[in-house]
Structure formats: C-alpha cells, structure tokens
C-alpha cells in the first residue's frame, strides 16, 4: 500500500491527510500471441465473420469481391451471427480456424 501524503491544488495535505482507496481495481490481461501474418493472400481460403449488424453483409461482400479480384482467393467461408450481442458459435470458430485468413467486423 502506498501511504505517502500528496499535495492537491497547492494545499499541503501533510501528516493529517487521510488515505482514500482507489475504486477501479486491476486489469490482468491474459497473454495471447497475435497469429503470424501471411506473406501473400494469393490462393488463400478466406473466412468471413459477419457480426449481424445491418449492412455488415454488404460491406464485407464488397471487401471479399475486391480481394477475390486481386488475389485469386481459392474459397470463401462465410458465417453470419444471428445476433450481434452474442459471441460466434463453436461451429463458426472451428470453420474459421481452418481458413488462411479471416475478415471480421465490429461496431455498427
């Protein structure tokens, strides 16, 4: 515990000061490794996870169309969450893990 007095707005708090307890607690991020990036998208099997928000499908299809045109994508695996507020299902994750790269969206 830190127990030293502080000055606030120029008022020396000195020895008579009180200790306040901070309310936010610690964050303990787990340690994950970012997956290695690929050297090229040519010939890749591409996964797409649509978060289910309005227009997410249109935006992602535009991205996929462009990537297909530029990189000869071998196959596209598409999943759409039925509900943006819930996590993707195990089945979806399993399918997407078998892809060379995945495009997802967040926000609305």
């Amino acid at each position: 515990l830190r127990d030293k007095s502080v000055t606030y707005n120029g008022h020396p708090m000195g020895q008579g000061s009180v200790r306040l307890v901070e309310p936010d607690g610690s964050v303990r991020p787990p340690k994950h490794e970012l997956a290695p990036r690929v050297s090229s998208l040519v010939g890749l099997r591409l996964g797409v996870l649509d978060n289910g928000k309005a227009n997410a499908d249109v935006v992602l299809e535009a991205i996929v169309g462009e990537l297909q045109a530029r990189f000869r994508i071998s196959e596209v695996v598409r999943h759409r969450k039925t509900n943006p507020g819930l996590s993707a299902t195990e089945v979806m994750f399993k399918d997407l893990e078998a892809c060379g790269a995945v495009v997802v969206g967040t926000g609305d």
């Binding site: 127990d3 901070e22 607690g25 610690s26 990036r37 690929v38 309005a54 249109v58 935006v59």
Partner: protein
C-alpha cells in the same frame, strides 16, 4: 489465423481497450467511418471497398501502411495497473469528487470519500474476505473483489448493511448468461434494474411504495448507484468512451426497488420463483427505460388486460424486434383489480403474452429481413400477419410496486441477448 478487424470509427476506443485488456494489444484495426447500418447499398459497398487496403495490410507482412490501420492499442482510459490501490488525498467531499473525477472515476455526482477507515469498518461488519474475487467486469475487465465493491458502495453512499445487497447484485450481473459485456458496450440505452424481494427489503428500507422508481428513497438510490459505480469504475463503462450508449437513460444512474409487500395481492416474487419466504434475493433484469402506463378507467380485469396489452409493444422496441425478458410493474390498484378476478401472477403474464401482438406490416422490409425474421423466426410462417410482442408468458416479469393511483410502469427488455439473474443475498 491472421484476422483483419474492420471497426467503425465510433467503436475505436472500445476496440482498442478490448484488444489491450483481453491480451492482444497489437491486433490491427481497420477503421471505417461510422455509421454503417443506415447507408444505402451503393454507399455501403463503397465503404467496404475503401477498407480493402487496410484489410490487406492487417493480414499480410510487409504491406505499406495505409493510414486507416491502427496497430497497437494506444488508448489509456484509466491509470496503469495498480495492485496496491491506495493513495493519500483530501477527505472533503467536493475535493475528493474532483480528484476522483479527474481520474475518470465516479458517476458525475458528488461521492462519499472512500477512506481507508470507512472501507475497513464496512469490511469488518461484512466479515467476508476482502480479496475474494467476484470476477472481471467488462468492458474494461477490471477484477471486482469484495473490497473494491465496498469502496464503490461507500462512494455511492451505502451504509454497511446495504453492501450485502450490492454484492449480490454484482454477483448477478457477472453471471455469463447476463451478458454484461453487451449491456455495457451497446449503443442502446440499457441498464440493469435491481428488484429486492424478501424480508430484507423492509429491514433495509428498500422501498416498493409510492414513487419507488423515482427520487427520495435513500436505500433504493444508494444500492442502484453502487452497482452503477462498480460498472463505471471497475468495468470502465464511461459514457462516450467504452459505454457506447447513444443516449443512456436516468435508470442507469440508479434503479433499485422492492415489491410493495403490504399491498401485493399475490405471494411474494421470490416465493413464486421458488425461494423460501425468509430468504431475500436480488432479481436483475436489463431494461431500456421506464414507461408510464395510465389506466384509470378500467374497472374490470378484462378491460385492464386489453389496455395493458395494447401499450407494451412497438415496431422499433428491442424486445418487439428481438424478444427478451421485460418487466411490468403493476401498481397495487391494477394488481388488485386483476387478483379480484381470480387471476394469479402467472395468469396475468399468460393473458398478456396471448393478447399483446403487432402487425407484421408495422415493420419495414429491412427491419424484417435484418432483424425480426432472424431473431423471432419461430413466430413466422405462411400467412402470418401478426406476431406476438412477447415470446411467451415466461418473458414477462410481473411485479407489484408503487403507491395509490392508477399508474403502472413497463420496463422493456434489452432483448434476448441477456438472461435475467436471481441471486440470494448473503
């Protein structure tokens, strides 16, 4: 698998905080301008195409930087991690409020300074291990401990005996099925509501009487505010930062009440939920706001049911589009009229579930295609012209509260993404 995350601009702060606090601080985010959902198709396609360089850069090594990709979470909404969470400072209420709000803590109202002495005193009364962990609170994922909940409850003005209720409420919102992440980070106005049912409600002064959803009830406000303080300080749900609510609602400041035990014509809520009469529980729903229902003309149950079922749905409510558990707070006069006709609480829910419906034509084609037909698929079939507002009687919680007068209140659900929780108060 290398992943490209396309993030709309208003969610960048949330995206950065999530990637940092969930352990992938270098996750590349390709930023596109918000909003997306209301764009015409051709503009949405243009926006998708504009994201392609960022997507390619996110997935590959050695690609040129496009300027739209953020690599490495830069945002620091809160101070760095401090395990020894004490510091010295002023004790005056306004000075303490000032110093805390300067660090992003609090709810905008003056706080009671959580001095070491106050915290220790409450911990002594509770007799629980201060280091006991209740779990990480999204979307900041700060770890809530008994001591931290005490600190936040003191800030909200809770005397020690109310902290037991706050601890139960925190335990409830951290249950995975409650899906607090979605509630905290959405653009919707949702917040948790706390209903205290059981003998402790009266003992602790939690009101279910006149005006119990509004101002003037110290225990109601202190408990509701304490939960908000936990969600804001430990969970990091600061409006406009990680809390993405478009507007929010006053119920997010504090929303806690009990049943009106004296004027409730039915067995107490917790007993109907299967708990012993002497047990007290907190019941946590997730609600979008409060809507007054005025009916001072119905003098038979049939008329009142007709009036109630006509005002609990609408084309653009979350619960009508997606389902979920809503709360109907019946005033004692309305509840009495229904009970006199021989209806139980379950009967009322069943009647409302049967009667409340909405025309399919009330929804636009885009709403039907994108949301309603997907999320409430079970109600659609050949020739269907109306769908029920509720997915069944179990999706309507009937509560009796309030004072004299013919006003009930509807608390509409956030939707089916969240499941209400009941937790006994220790």
């Amino acid at each position: 698998v290398p992943t490209a995350t396309v993030c709309s601009s208003t969610f960048v702060a949330l995206g950065e905080a999530e990637s940092r606090n969930l352990g992938l601080p270098d996750l590349p985010l390709t930023v596109v301008p918000h909003p997306i959902g209301n764009l015409a198709d051709d503009r949405a396609r243009d926006l998708g195409q504009s994201a392609v360089p960022g997507v390619v850069e996110s997935l590959t090594t050695g690609a040129p930087r496009s300027g739209q990709v953020i690599r490495g979470a830069r945002l620091d909404m809160h101070q760095p991690v401090r395990l020894a969470a004490d510091f010295s400072g002023p004790v005056d209420v306004l000075e303490a409020t000032e110093i805390f709000s300067g660090r992003g803590w609090g709810d905008g109202l003056p706080i009671v300074p959580p001095t070491r002495e106050r915290v220790d005193r409450v911990l002594d009364v509770l007799g629980r291990d201060p280091n006991e962990e209740l779990g990480p609170v999204p979307p900041r994922w700060g770890v809530a401990t008994v001591e931290l909940v005490v600190v936040n409850a003191i800030m909200a003005g809770c005397p020690s005996q109310l902290v037991r209720v706050v601890l139960a409420a925190v335990e409830a919102v951290l249950k995975p099925a409650y899906n607090l992440y979605s509630i905290q980070a959405t653009t919707g106005s949702v917040g948790p509501s706390i209903i205290v049912s059981g003998p402790l409600a009266d003992e602790l002064g939690i009101s279910g009487g006149a005006g119990c959803l509004g101002p003037g009830h110290r225990a109601n406000l202190a408990v509701g505010r304490a939960l908000r303080m936990v969600l804001a300080n430990i969970g990091g749900a600061t409006p406009g930062a990680l809390d993405r609510a478009t507007l929010g609602q006053p119920g997010k400041i504090a929303l806690c009440f009990s049943e009106n035990q004296a004027d409730n014509p039915w067995p107490p809520l917790h007993v109907e939920l299967g708990y012993e009469p002497e047990q007290s529980v907190v019941i946590i729903d997730s609600i979008m706001g409060t809507t007054d229902i005025m009916d001072h003309t119905s003098n038979v149950a049939e008329d009142l049911l007709h009036m109630l079922s006509g005002c609990v749905g609408g084309s653009a409510f979350n619960h009508t589009q997606t389902g979920g558990h809503s709360v109907l707070v019946l005033c004692p006069e309305h509840a009495g009229l229904l009970a006199q006709a021989g209806l139980s609480r379950a009967d009322v829910a069943r009647e409302l579930s049967k009667r409340a419906s909405i025309e399919v034509g009330a929804f636009t084609g885009r709403a039907l295609e994108n949301v309603v037909r997907v999320r409430r698929a079970r109600h659609f079939g050949p020739g269907v012209t109306r769908i029920p507002v509720f997915d069944g009687p179990e999706f309507i919680r009937i509560v009796v509260a309030g004072g004299a007068g013919p006003h009930s209140t509807f608390l509409p659900s956030f939707g089916e993404v969240t499941v209400p929780q009941v937790v006994p108060i220790r």
